[in-house]
């Protein structure tokens, strides 16, 4: 390395920590000022033999240009920083593209559908205007059952009504005659209830059905346990209580251990440790026979759950009507 190269290396080392114009000016004086390092080298040209002068002069000029260029580069950098700085207030709000949200009921419904799809259930839909046959008779509802009353069900005429559950879809699917059937039917249903914090005449249900050879109550328990553990967490426990539903026999109410307190008892579960989730059971043989399925050869289970109920529990909503009021201050919370 020549002596001039050494000066250049030394200069670069001195330049690196310089971050103010004042320090830069001091550096310039140190190298290019009257008593500067580079200036001193020029002064030593005089005593050299004439033959060496042009080459040495050229090298020195190159060094001086190089140092000058590096200094002005750094000066520009410093000025650029100085210019930019006062115009950015980092605390100003960013420009955020507006994004919408899915309704909380849709979000819950999609979670439920995802879990059942993963278990090989198809998702089926059907009409909301149903006939008394599909909504009641085909579901084994006795003629005397109060669910058929106008106090419970909205009628359009003597035949037609607004479905009170999504089970009619299951009948329609079984009527296609293709077995096995493994399906859920999510959708909107109607009951003649006065709106209050826990009732609304319109709500959403998911009902499930599995008909195949060898399906038992133990399979129902296993399927629902898997589902509720996916929904509420892996520690969830289930409790099955005998009940009566025309569509199924044996029938059971399903309780899930409270996801909030883990079953110890809290306000959400009214200190019982359990949350009532919905009905279930083995499909009544009458139902199967009515759609020409041999009930000796095939058995099946069915279950239902309310999407609103899960939404209220999961999000801690205390009034079902909030879900249908659609106040954006409410809807925008469900990210």
């Amino acid at each position: 390395m020549s002596d001039l190269d050494k000066i250049l290396v030394q200069f670069e080392g001195d330049l690196q920590p310089v971050h103010s114009e004042q320090a830069l000016e001091e550096l310039r004086v140190r190298y290019l000022g009257k008593k500067g390092i580079v200036t001193a080298e020029f002064k030593m040209l005089g005593p050299l033999p004439p033959a060496q002068k042009p080459a040495r002069g050229a090298e020195l000029n190159m060094l001086k240009e190089r140092v000058t260029a590096r200094l002005s580069e750094r000066r520009e950098e410093l000025q650029a920083v100085k210019l930019a700085r006062p115009t950015i207030d980092l605390t100003m709000p960013g420009r955020r593209p507006q994004v919408g949200r899915l309704h909380p009921l849709t979000q819950i419904e999609e979670r439920i559908k995802r879990i059942f799809r993963a278990m090989g259930f198809s998702v089926e839909t059907g009409p909301e205007i149903e006939t008394a046959f599909y909504n009641f008779t085909a579901l084994n509802t006795p003629e005397w059952h109060p669910a058929r009353d106008e106090a419970d069900t909205f009628y359009l005429d003597d035949e037609r009504l607004l479905r009170t559950e999504t089970s009619p879809v299951q009948i329609r699917v079984m009527q296609r005659g293709k077995l096995p059937v493994r399906m859920i039917s999510p959708g909107r249903v109607y009951r003649n209830d006065k709106p209050d914090p826990s009732h609304f005449p319109v709500f959403h249900q998911v009902e499930g059905l599995y008909v195949d050879k060898g399906v038992t109550f133990a399979d129902l328990k296993g399927t629902l346990l898997f589902f509720y553990r996916q929904l509420f967490g892996p520690d969830t426990q289930l409790r099955f209580r005998p009940h009566y539903f025309p569509f199924t026999e044996p029938s059971a109410e399903v309780d899930a251990s409270c996801y909030l307190c883990g079953g110890k008892g809290c306000r959400l579960c009214k200190h019982t440790g359990w949350l009532e989730m919905g009905g279930s059971g083995m499909v009544d043989p009458n139902v199967l026979e009515d759609v020409d399925i041999d009930s000796e050869e095939y058995t099946g289970f069915a279950f239902g759950l309310g999407i609103e109920r899960i939404a209220l529990l999961w999000y801690g909503i205390d009034d079902i009507r909030l879900l249908y009021e659609n106040d954006l201050r409410f809807l925008r919370q469900f990210t």
Binding site: R95, P97, V99, G100, R101, L102, H103, L105, T106, M119, G120, S122, V123, E124, E128, I129, E143, W144, P146, E150, F154, Y155, L156, R160, L162, K178, V181, R182, M183, R188, Y190, D193, V202, Y210, D212, G214, V215, F217, A218, D219, K221, G222, T223, L225, F240, R241, P242, H243, Y244, E249, P250, S251, M282, T299, L323, Y324, E325, N326, D327, L328
Partner: protein, 790 residues
């Protein structure tokens, strides 16, 4: 249905606490909705003995008493006039909280400290007596908790009895369930009576004209009763289940109903004309005054219990005022019948009159329990009201119910439940439910007539499964997967639509499809369907489109200071012919917050809406396949500037600004832009499978051209002409500026387009682009007189 814990213990010896009993009942299917202690909480109150009563030194009306509590002696001040040495009394010490909520503390009264209190009956909320302290019986034990003196505290269990189990609407029914669940032996109590009166045939007769509606009617006559108060134990039992005591005879009929589940009625024998009973249908529009003093209009399908001349009770629902039991009643006719469930239910519904009796008959009573119920009632009446029971029962039973047989195959239990339950256990469960059992495979079960819900093998399977315990059934840990691929395409398409709109800034709403008539009246909507039995006028019609619900939501949010938003809904709409279809609709309202807070806010306009719709169609892969025609429609729910979106000559939707007359229905006075699409048609036009299309790797050339044209020439016309004339290498033509000025002239405008040329085969030269532009210029000049702006 309410049951008393102690009443159940009267019937069955079991060792569960009230809480344990509640859990057990819930787990065998009679869900306990509440468990409440009966009567006041007497914790801490004990029996004391008054040793001495002295006058208070500083107060005439107060006495200073020494009370022996067994373990200690306390000095208390008492203001009651009846306190006397030698009495057993109820004592509450310092720190005890009385049933009225008062907690006692040591208190100085006129210089003397009282260390407790001798209680009156009212202070303990036992009754209203406040004339003095409550004096207990001699046999009360000093120091004994007062609750023990009164006996074990009772609890009332409120049960939800399912519709198929009317037999559980009684203490005997619930006791049978407990016994079956706990594997205890249970025999319902039986009552024997001495028939010391004259033969019943000499006193009355029963005639049934409607054997289908009344398959059985049994009656007994008791003469010489004395109507009066009921025994205290019976009053306590009835009050525990919420029944008020009336008199001994009426209380006994209620007691029998609550214990056995069989409703009964007692008539004053002398108020029955001709002293006989005829069961027949009412006359059309017959009027009848029931016990509750309400005159009711009957119809000819309602069953009426009549005497020789007229009606005396509405069968199975409520008795008549005229023949009710009064204090003057001496001779009784007791009714115990079986009425048809469906007809009882109809009568109860039509009269809007539900009673403890109608509830049991309409779900199904036991036709073979009528005489047992009569015997129980007669035995209790003779015991507590005196009188002689006529010998024999007037028992008309034209339609006899016999127990029936149901077979149960143990293998079938396994097939349904998924676990093998030993045959002996199956037999044992059924036996405890009251079935007679024979055989083992199949098990032949003879079903008692109070269990008409047990008709089929599956009914028995449910019984053995629940008694075995649902929670004893193993939980399958394998999935019984049916590998059957069923397309659920429409449903996933709807998800796709919703997700696309969310990305475009729209919030999903869910509105009630039940709306008011005024809301169905948007112009060019079809007529809406009306419910036959709406819950309210606000929710009497099925929505004929989604815009009404969305406009309601818009109004709600505008009224709450929300100045701008985008909302959408996807759901069914309904038509007069009962058809329904899936629609997606959305609104853009007010100030558009695009997140560019520093660029000023502005109100939504048509191009915002159009852009949103175009983006939606693109997200749904419709942009390439669909040609969109813009047409002007007659002013309906939209203003005249409405766009009809067509695909393959089918209308898939509309968008535009909503007509102010439409928004005014919802009290909205700001401009609202909206769209509506038919989901099924959208889906039909949507590309199901995306296939990759290669793009050119050669450089592109860009040319910006501004044309001056007449105002009447549209952007669409111009860009159409440019694309037609530009050749195959013109791959894009986009409007980027519109300019008007005095220089251009009043009816003129300048439209600036950016053109991109690119070839798949080679690098294009400037000459090639220039040539294409010459052709474009000639073409637009010819078609629209368009000239390049200089």
């Amino acid at each position: 249905m309410r049951v008393s814990y102690l009443w159940l213990k009267d019937l069955l010896d079991f060792s569960l606490s009230p809480e344990e009993l509640a859990h057990e009942l819930t787990m065998v299917g009679s869900e306990v909705e509440s468990l409440t202690p009966v009567g006041p909480d007497l914790t801490g109150v004990i029996v004391g003995y008054v040793l001495e009563v002295n006058k208070h030194p500083n107060a005439d009306k107060l006495s200073l008493c020494k009370v022996d509590l067994g373990a200690e002696i306390k000095e208390v001040i008492c203001g009651a006039p009846n306190v006397a040495a030698g009495q057993k009394i109820a004592f509450a010490g310092i720190g005890v909280t009385l049933p009225n909520g008062l907690t006692l503390d040591a208190r100085k009264i006129r210089g003397v400290t009282s260390t407790g209190m001798i209680c009156s009956a009212r202070e303990l909320q036992l009754n209203e007596d406040h004339t003095g302290i409550m004096v207990l019986r001699e046999d009360a034990l000093i120091g004994q908790p007062l609750q023990d003196y009164f006996g074990t505290r009772d609890y009332c269990l409120e049960l939800e009895i399912t519709l198929n189990r009317p037999d559980c609407l009684s203490h005997v029914g619930i006791a049978r369930e407990i016994a079956a669940a706990l594997k205890l032996e249970f025999t319902p109590p039986s009552y024997t009576i001495a028939e010391t009166g004259p033969p019943i045939e000499t006193l009355t007769s029963v005639e049934i004209e409607e054997p289908d509606l009344c398959p059985r009617y049994s009656a007994r006559v008791i003469q010489g009763v004395k109507v009066g108060p009921s025994p205290a134990w019976m009053v306590k039992r009835l009050e525990a289940v919420g029944l008020r005591s009336i008199n001994n005879v009426v209380d006994i009929t209620n007691f029998v109903m609550m214990q056995m589940g069989h409703p009964m009625h007692a008539f004053d024998y002398h108020h029955l004309e001709e002293h006989r009973v005829v069961v027949k249908c009412a006359e059309p529009q017959e009027k009848f005054v029931t016990l509750d003093e309400v005159e009711r209009q009957l119809d000819s399908r309602m069953l009426l219990i009549c005497d020789g001349k007229q009606g005396v009770a509405i069968a199975g629902v409520m008795g008549g005022l005229k023949s009710e039991i009064t204090d003057a009643t001496v001779d009784l006719l007791l009714e115990s019948a079986y009425f048809d469930p469906v007809n009882t239910r109809r009568t109860s519904n039509f009269l809007n009159l539900t009673t403890d009796s109608s509830k049991r008959f309409e779900r199904g009573a036991d036709p073979n329990a009528t005489v047992r119920a009569l015997d129980m009632a007669a035995a209790l009446i003779v015991k507590y009201a005196g009188g002689k029971v006529a010998s024999g029962v007037a028992d008309a039973y034209p339609r006899k119910f016999e127990p029936w047989n149901v077979e149960l195959r143990p293998a079938r239990v396994t097939a349904i439940v998924g676990i093998e339950i030993p045959t002996a256990e199956l037999q044992d469960h059924l036996r405890r439910l009251g079935c007679q059992i024979e055989g083992s495979d199949p098990i032949q079960a003879t079903i008692p007539t109070f269990r008409f819900d047990l008709e089929r093998e599956i009914d028995l399977i449910e019984e053995v499964a629940r008694l075995h315990g649902y929670n004893q059934v193993p939980t399958a840990d394998r999935a019984n997967v049916a590998l059957d691929v069923v397309a659920a395409a429409q449903e996933t398409f709807e998800e796709k639509v919703c997700n696309a709109l969310v990305r475009l800034g729209f919030n999903q709403v869910k509105t009630s499809p039940l709306i008011a008539k005024s809301e169905t009246l948007l112009r060019d909507y079809p007529e809406a369907l009306k419910l036959r039995n709406p819950g309210s006028e606000d929710m009497a019609y099925l929505c004929n489109g989604l815009l009404p619900g969305l406009l309601k939501v818009a109004a709600h949010n505008l009224n709450r200071d929300n100045r701008g938003f985008r909302i959408f809904e996807s759901g069914r709409v309904f038509h007069k012919d009962f058809s329904e279809k899936e629609v997606v609709a959305g609104l853009m309202v007010g100030v558009q917050d695009l997140g560019n807070w520093d660029q000023g806010l502005r109100s939504v306009d048509f191009l915002d809406l159009k852009g949103a719709v175009e983006s939606l169609l693109q997200e749904l892969s419709l942009d390439k396949q669909v040609f969109v025609y813009y047409t002007i429609e007659g002013a309906g729910r939209f203003t005249a500037d409405v766009v009809t979106v067509m695909a393959s000559e089918r209308q898939i939707g509309l968008f535009g600004q909503l007509h102010p007359k439409a928004t005014a229905i919802f009290d909205i006075d700001v401009p609202i832009f909206g769209f509506e699409f038919d989901v099924a048609v959208l889906q039909g036009q949507s590309e199901q499978r995306i296939s990759y299309k290669p793009f050119s790797s050669f450089p592109a050339l860009q040319r910006d051209l501004a044309f001056v044209v007449a105002e009447s020439v549209t952007t669409g016309q111009m860009s159409g002409a440019i694309i037609n004339a530009g050749g195959e290498d013109l791959i894009r033509c986009e409007l980027f500026d519109v300019y008007r000025s005095d220089q251009l002239g009043a009816d003129k405008k300048s439209l600036a387009f950016r053109l991109i040329f690119q070839s798949f085969k080679r690098t294009l030269t400037d000459d090639e682009a220039d040539l294409a532009i010459k052709q474009i210029m000639a073409s637009v000049d010819r078609a629209f007189g368009a000239v390049l702006r200089s």
